[in-house]
Amino acid sequence: MAGQPPSNPVLVVQELRKHYGSLQAVKGIDFQVCPGEVVGLLGLNGAGKTTTISMILGVLEPTSGSIHINGIDLARHRSRALAQTNFAAVYAPLPGNLTVYQNLHVFSLLYGVRNFAQRAEALLEQFDLARFRNTKCGVLSSGEQTRVGLAKAMLNRPCVLLLDEPTASIDPASARDIRHTIRTFVRESGVGVLWTSHNMYEVEEVCDRVLFLSHGDIILEGDPKALPGQHGLRTLEELFIRVAREPWEWEAQ
């Protein structure tokens, strides 16, 4: 994103909080995602990543704060806002009892996709799924199911794409192909992506910017390639481990 003129963000999160009784899962975070930008949301398990993504997807009501997707307030215009987004998550595979094509057809109707047949053909080709068109998703391998999930996530050409560990549980070769496909999609469509992953190599390769979440708060933000050096460390993984082990040091900053 460096050197590009700033554009209106496609995702604006302001003062977002989620409390479960006395537990503060997310503590008033603010961030934005611009068109064509891939933002990594990093943190330990339980840091608040999936809670944040669930709130952006409209399946979890924030305690307070606001979410605007492409300028549309999610709390006030849920359907309109969600029509501008889509997601893929390793824990939300598409129904295994429908074929790849049937799943894409059903979700194309849910997301109001025009020219479905044309769009489906393009995605089946792009994700190397054409031969599985009439195969039930339940019998596909993990990598193939991930590709189907990503094809569904791109069906409606969203403004904001949420990817929760999209390459978890797939082999390195498939993961590299998927990262390449997503980067190509981002470059061509200008979609803004919020990406969670525990693979720091992947984050360095794919993300333009990262946000470190710890105990529901963003404690560090920056360019994944420059951040480790700025803190006297060699790799993003080292930085992740340092932040995870000594979060109070960063929270104080």
Binding site: G58, L94, N97
Partner: protein
Amino acid sequence: MNLRRLFAIALRQFYLLRGSAARFLPLFAWVTIDMVLWGFMTKYLNSVTGSRYQFVPALLGAVLFWDLMSRVMQGVTTAFFEDVWSRNFLNVFASPITTQEYIGGLLVSSIGTSLVGLVFMVLVATLAFGLSFAVYGFLAIPFVLVLFLFGLALGIAGSAIVLRLGPAAEWFVWPIPALLSPFAAVYYPLTTLPEWMRWIARLLPPSYVFEGMRAIVAGRAFHATVLFGACALALVYVLLAYWFFASVFRYAVKTGLIARYSAESVS
């Protein structure tokens, strides 16, 4: 309301039925068993009572109509359970679909599958056991309408229970028709029931249908206006059931139940 999104839920159900004999055959199998069992039962009753009373339209007709209501309810809950079983809530509810559209899709699915079952039941009852709907006249239409509406209401309420309590609660939902049948006076007149059960029966729209059926078969007077009241009551139940579902859905979004339904097991 966006009809394309409503259609998506119904289309999903159509794809599932088309692709699975295990889902398609039960549309016919259980109703056939019921019709055959009760068909022979009515024949036997006719023979031992010397045909003084028309058991075929009174008893077999009642079984057919009660089965229809149960099928309508199960049509809604089964379509909902498909999302439970495939842990698909996150995918569906993170899309732009509204609760009205989602429930609308379940209702359309149920109406489609129940009509298939109804046609099949009528064919078996008519061809094998001589049940004639001419006995009921035009009142057969409001009979079916009341039972359809009440079945839809039960289906929506059952879905809300499972959404709130988790997949294991489906075992609360399946026996609902059996629990209601003694109060709905499906097989016997309302006067058979003790007074406290009659009060409950009056709150159940199907009881008016079955009382009406028996009155017609026995040649007694029956005012069609009663069925307007039953229709209105059934419609109120549909609205109440929708309100219940929408409330549970709001609770599920507030507590994160929807997200957890997919990410982990709920018990």
